[in-house]
Amino acid sequence: MPSQQLAVDRVFHALGDPTRRAIVEKLSAGPISVSRLAKPLDMTLAAVVQHLQVLEASGLVATEKVGRVRTCRIEPKGFSVAERWISERRSLWERRFDRLGKLLGESDRE
């Protein structure tokens, strides 16, 4: 089992590449087959598969072959649950306070 430090290094290496970040962002909307993932990326399927292997090794992404289709998805264990929850809950309130600002801005003009 990788040490804590090694796991962190792998995640940073995985996310240090803009294509891999684009892949993770795409997968955050839901699971997708490798061929559909590769389409908008404008690179060979082999190149995409290599990126996916790095992401899988870092624990961020999981892939599964069922029949002839390989599907990829975000692997939630890749990041600490606590960090993700805090980050998301905070973002949710930030968006709400943005909208509150707009609402107050409207009333200010009356």
Partner: protein, 156 residues
């Protein structure tokens, strides 16, 4: 049966608004205004928003998620108001439930601090997050904000 696992966290958000505290407070107290910034605007259809703004009063928000793997799943906020000091402070507790599963319980304290002609809104959330439930918001928005931050770091 899965073991219970709870994560605790506290975070603070501060915002500056160019209007007096009474106005900002009113946006929390008046159901019509509250709905517009609190319930509206997320990628979900509002099924219900009801607000009884008094100590012991309940606020219920129910939204249906519109897209992604949890499309059609209801996301519910149930709040109870614990402390209200007019134009100054609101304290409430709330749970979030995704489908049948409660995913968190939190206490939120909101302070409306006069700042010249405007207001500082100080929001403190102390929360307990329950095992595993990886809601769609977390999956999508959490990743997006994280990647946004990383983009900034690696852009140099």
């Amino acid at each position: 049966m899965a073991k219970s696992s709870v994560t605790h966290s506290t975070f603070i958000i501060e915002r500056n608004y160019a209007v007096p505290p009474e106005q900002v407070f009113a946006a929390w107290a008046d159901p019509a205004q509250k709905r517009r910034w609190f319930a509206d605007g997320e990628h979900a259809e509002i099924e219900e928003h009801a607000l009884d703004f008094r100590v012991g009063g309940i606020e219920k928000t129910r939204r249906i998620i519109m897209g992604g793997p949890f499309k059609g799943t209801p996301l519910t906020n149930d709040s109870v108001y614990l402390d209200i000091v007019g134009d100054q402070r609101i304290v409430f507790a709330y749970t979030m439930t995704l489908g049948e599963k409660r995913i968190s319980s939190s206490q939120a304290t909101v302070e409306f601090l006069p700042n010249g002609k405007g207001t500082i809104l100080a929001f403190t959330e102390q929360g307990a997050f329950f095992e595993g439930a990886d809601g769609p918001e977390m999956r999508e928005q959490g990743w997006k904000s994280l990647i946004g931050q990383l983009d900034k770091i690696f852009a140099h």
